[in-house]
Structures are given as C-alpha cells and as structure tokens.
C-alpha cells in the first residue's frame, strides 16, 4: 500500500485532514497505523479563533468556522512537534498565514525541524490583506506564494487548494509550475446556514466551510479535473466516510486521501478505511495501489447490461 507523495514515502494512503484530528485521538487509535500525521494548521501568532457557534450540521454534512485557534509557532515548535516525534510515521505541518511573506517565514522555520517530513500550505483561508479573498483563488498569487516557499525548503510542499474557484485546473497548474510536490484537493466549499426561528446564522462567523459526505461528489469531480492536467500526486480530501469513498477518489486520480469529519462520527474511521482498501485490493486482485490511482474508465461509457 506504499505511496510516494512528491518524494515522501508513506506506508499507506490514509491520513487525517488538518483541523479534524489532534492529540486527543491518541486515546482511541494507534497513530502509527496511519499513512502520515497532520496537526491543525498553525499560525505565526497565537489566535483566539472565531466566535461561537463554530459548527453546525447540515443534511449530509457540517459547516465549521473555527478560524485557526492556534497557540502560535513558538508553542508549535516547543510542544506540538515534539509530541508527534514519538510516532514513527511522517509528520506533515499545515501552515496558515496572512501574507506571502509570513508563509515564507513560517515555512522556512518549520521545514528546518528535522522531524517535519513535509509542509502543507493551507492557501484556502481568507487573505486579510487582499479583501478577504483566499490566496488560492488566484493563479498568480498561488504561483508567487508556492514559488517563494519553494526557495526556502527542499522538503515536499503540499498545496491545499480551495474548491471555491471557477477553474481549479489553472490553480493546480500554477502551483505545479511554482514547484509544488503534491496537491491536496481540496479544502471546504464556503457555506452558510440560518436558524429560521432565531433568524441568526448557525455559525458565529456567518459563513464557514462545508465538510462531510455532502461534498464528496464535488471533490471527486475536482480530483478528476486536476488529475487530467497535472502530473503531481493528488491527495483527495472532502467527504470520505468509508473505504469505498477513499477508493472512489483514488480511481478519480488521488494517490492518497485525507479524512476529516469521519473522525468525529467514528474515531476509528481511518483505521477502518485502511483495512477496507486492503480488502478491496484483495478482492479485485490488485497488487499495487498504483493500479487504483486514476483507474476510472471513461472510454466507451455505455449502459450497463441489466440482465
């Protein structure tokens, strides 16, 4: 089940999605069974995060607007990274910043820590210096950002794209040209829910990111689109609840997957997904995971025989 993500070898293709995983889960599952570890996105300075309520349910999904509640980079270096060093699998640091300079600065500091295997750039959060638009909504800014980070580290750079764009292919290509090693497709569609009795948004921050099974068909489409144009390994993320969902994303073109909301529903979800992929491969007599990646058959689409 080994996969290569831009030079980083992982023993299986299942890892947590940033922000939907954390130290507390070590009581419930054995972290060493996962493909990689990704703690919540870190910011340079400590941040309080957004006002509550920070999460609500929707049909088949949930909206969250946690904001990045973060203890800052110093705490991260002193406490978070050392905590994860006890595990034998790769640690990927998810970075969130307010400007390109800040991304570069933080990347340079964190990448210099030996035990950090790769960086994930969360370019899907709103850029306060650019009228609230996310960095990842523009080809140009994506290119500049990734290109500048590329210059300060040789470690694999994963770029987490936002799904809230007209043309995800061109953003993917901008990241690829700028030197990204892998693309995470994708962060959460921007969403909103209103309590019709109080008339208030169900999320303190008014809008938030939609995650969970509801968004999977949108993400599968984006993985397929990115895979069509980019050579980079893709990490699928959004709505995976079961092994079948993970396999679907891999068939669409993902080399690995991230699991978020499913951890809340069932904390053993990632372990079950790893086992489920293995069973599927055995049943379909696949020997290498590569046989799965991008394996969707789109030629001669025709109606299935209905005998």
């Amino acid at each position: 089940m080994e996969v290569d993500i831009g030079g980083m070898k992982i023993t299986n293709p299942v890892m947590p999605a940033s922000g939907a995983f954390g130290e507390g889960m070590d009581r419930v599952i054995d972290f060493n069974l996962l493909g990689a570890l990704i703690p919540k996105s870190i910011t340079k300075y400590p941040q309080r995060g957004n006002r509550t309520p920070r999460a609500c349910e929707t049909k088949g999904g949930m909206i969250n607007s946690i904001g990045i509640q973060s203890k800052g980079i110093d705490y991260y270096l002193k406490e978070t990274i050392p905590y994860y060093e006890q595990y034998s699998i790769p640690l990927i640091s998810s970075i969130s910043a307010e400007s390109i300079d800040e991304f570069v600065e933080m990347s340079s500091i964190i990448a210099s820590v030996t035990s950090v295997a790769a960086l994930e750039l969360n370019i899907s959060c709103p850029n306060l210096k650019n009228n609230g638009q996310a960095f990842g909504m523009s080809d140009d800014i994506t290119y500049q950002l990734v290109n500048r980070v590329r210059k300060v580290t040789d470690k694999p750079i994963l770029v987490k794209l936002t799904p809230n764009v007209t043309d995800i292919q061109s953003i993917a290509l901008a990241a690829e040209r700028a030197g990204a090693d892998s693309l995470v497709v994708a962060n959460t569609p921007l969403a909103m829910a209103i309590d019709i009795h109080t008339r208030r948004p169900k999320i303190g921050n008014i809008m938030g990111g939609l995650s969970g099974p509801a968004i999977k068909p949108i993400i599968v489409r984006q993985i397929y689109q990115v895979h069509e144009v980019s050579q980079l390994p893709i990490i699928g993320c959004g709505g995976i609840m079961t092994a079948d969902d993970a396999i679907e994303m891999m068939l669409a073109g993902a080399s690995a997957v991230q699991v978020g909301t499913a951890n809340f529903v069932s904390p053993t979800a990632m372990i079950d997904i790893i086992a489920g992929i293995q069973t599927y491969m055995e049943e379909h007599q696949l020997h290498r995971i590569d046989e799965l990646i991008g394996g969707v058959i789109v030629m001669n689409q025709r109606e299935e025989d209905y005998i």
């Binding site: 009581r27 509550t52 999460a55 909301t261 529903v265």
Partner: protein, 261 residues
C-alpha cells in the same frame, strides 16, 4: 476513552419529553465519574443523518450498567429514542473533567435545571456514598419535567422543587432559597448544571460567601474528543482570560472561572 459498542438494555420514555437509556457497561474497564459524558452515535446505519454524535452526561453509574437521561427533541435525540433493547449502540467516552468533591466536605448544595438534574444525580449518588449531606434545588418548566426527582431524593437530605408552572422558579425566589439554605447549613461546596441564569446566580452567591463551586457547561460539541475546537468557552484562570475546550478542559469548571458575558 474508547469507542465502545455496547448493548442497550432499556430505553424508555419516562415523561412527556424525557427518555431514560440503560446500557450494558460490563466491558468498560475505565473509571467513570459524575460530570463526565459520553458522545453517543444516535444513528446506526449509513444515512449520516444526523451526521454527528451527541454528548450526554452520565446519569447513573452502576456495576455493570450506565444510565443516561435525555430530552428527545431534535433529530439526534429523536433517533436515539428509537433504539430498542438488544441493539448495539456506539458510545465514545468517558470524556471530560468530572465534578470534584473537596476533602472533608460535609454538606453540599446542588442547583439543577432541566436535564441538568440528570448530571447532578450522578454526583448525588457519589456524594451519598461519601456520607455527605446533600441539599438540592431542582428547577423545571413543569412538574412533568422534574425528572429524576425520585432518584435524586434517595440520596439527598432535602430536595426543593421549583417550576414555572407553580411560578416558583424565578431567579429572585431561587436566590432567597439558596440564601436561606446557606444560612441554616454550613455548605462546603455547590454544584450546578442546566441553566445559564442559575449558574450566574450561584456564581455571585458562592463568590460572596466563599463557597467552592463548580458548573458543568453544555457547549455545542462536534467531536467531543478535543480536536475540533467547536466547544470552546472563555474562562478566567488566575486572572488570565483563556479560550478552553469544554469537552476536554471541561465540561466541569470551577464556577468562579466561567465568564457568562
């Protein structure tokens, strides 16, 4: 803390709005303390509706069973009410910080409203085992909602009930009751759950009277295991404002630390 798949032994409607769930806990080897909670998956199959688990504090802890008392109201709790004896149910826990009883404590006061009564019932059970005298004020909309009164009465020295129905539940009246109680008895510690208004009241009184007090908060929880930061609340600890996770740093907090805006 683990994701336990336990068997439902009983799941019955006990009043107009409340249900009582008993599960077989003989497989749980961890210690479970009053004030802690389990995050219960209310749906068994792949509908993902509702998507998330629901947190419920422990109502009664026995040798081989665990009991919960819940208000069947929204999608999750209504779904929970459909479980039948014999079915398996998934319980993630025990989670969170429990209530603590100070050493040499002789008399305590419980102030509960609505389902908060369930949470304090577990504490009453424990305090009774420690031979502590318990005075309880239970508040609810109406008598039908004064669930668990019988359970809690067993453990308490004295139980006072107030309701909207009887027009006895207003804050002013409850304030006078508490004042009378702490004048007559030397209360060592006070505990509350289930109402922001009553918590604020108790906060003022216990502060003024130097009584240790704790509250169990009910913040909205998406994960219940300390990873999502949806359940945060602000507290002031040693003079410093902090945003903490109520699922991990709580749900029980020293009452004086809680900021009720």
């Amino acid at each position: 803390m683990r994701d336990y798949h336990v068997t439902v032994l009983s799941n019955k409607q006990v009043s107009n709005r409340y249900w009582h769930l008993i599960v077989d806990s003989s497989d749980l080897k961890e210690a479970i303390e009053p004030g802690q909670f389990f995050n219960i998956k209310s749906t068994d199959y792949q509908t993902y509706y509702p998507l998330l688990r629901r947190p419920f504090s422990i109502y009664r802890i026995k040798e081989d069973t665990l009991e919960f008392l819940y208000k069947a109201e929204g999608a999750g709790t209504k779904q929970l009410a459909t479980y039948k004896p014999g079915q398996k149910i998934s319980l993630l826990g025990p989670a969170g910080v429990s209530y603590s009883i100070p050493k040499n404590c002789k008399k305590i006061l419980l102030l509960a409203r609505g389902v908060g009564i369930a949470t304090l019932a577990a504490l009453a059970q424990k305090a009774d085992q420690m031979n502590i005298e318990i005075y309880a004020i239970l508040s609810a909309r109406n008598k039908d909602d004064l669930l668990a009164t019988k359970t809690i009465e067993k453990y308490c020295t004295k139980v006072y009930c107030v309701t909207e129905e009887d027009k006895t539940s207003d804050v002013e009246h409850v304030r006078r009751m508490i004042h009378d109680l702490i004048k007559t008895h030397h209360i060592d510690a006070a505990y509350t759950c289930g109402s922001r208004r009553l918590s604020m009241l108790l906060q003022k009184i216990t502060k003024a009277n130097g009584i240790t007090s704790q509250v169990a908060l009910e913040e909205y929880m998406a994960c219940g295991m300390g990873v999502c930061y949806s359940c945060v609340c602000d507290i002031k600890r040693q003079g410093v404002m902090q945003t903490v996770k109520s699922c991990e740093d709580g749900p029980v907090f020293p009452l004086e630390e809680v900021i009720f805006e």
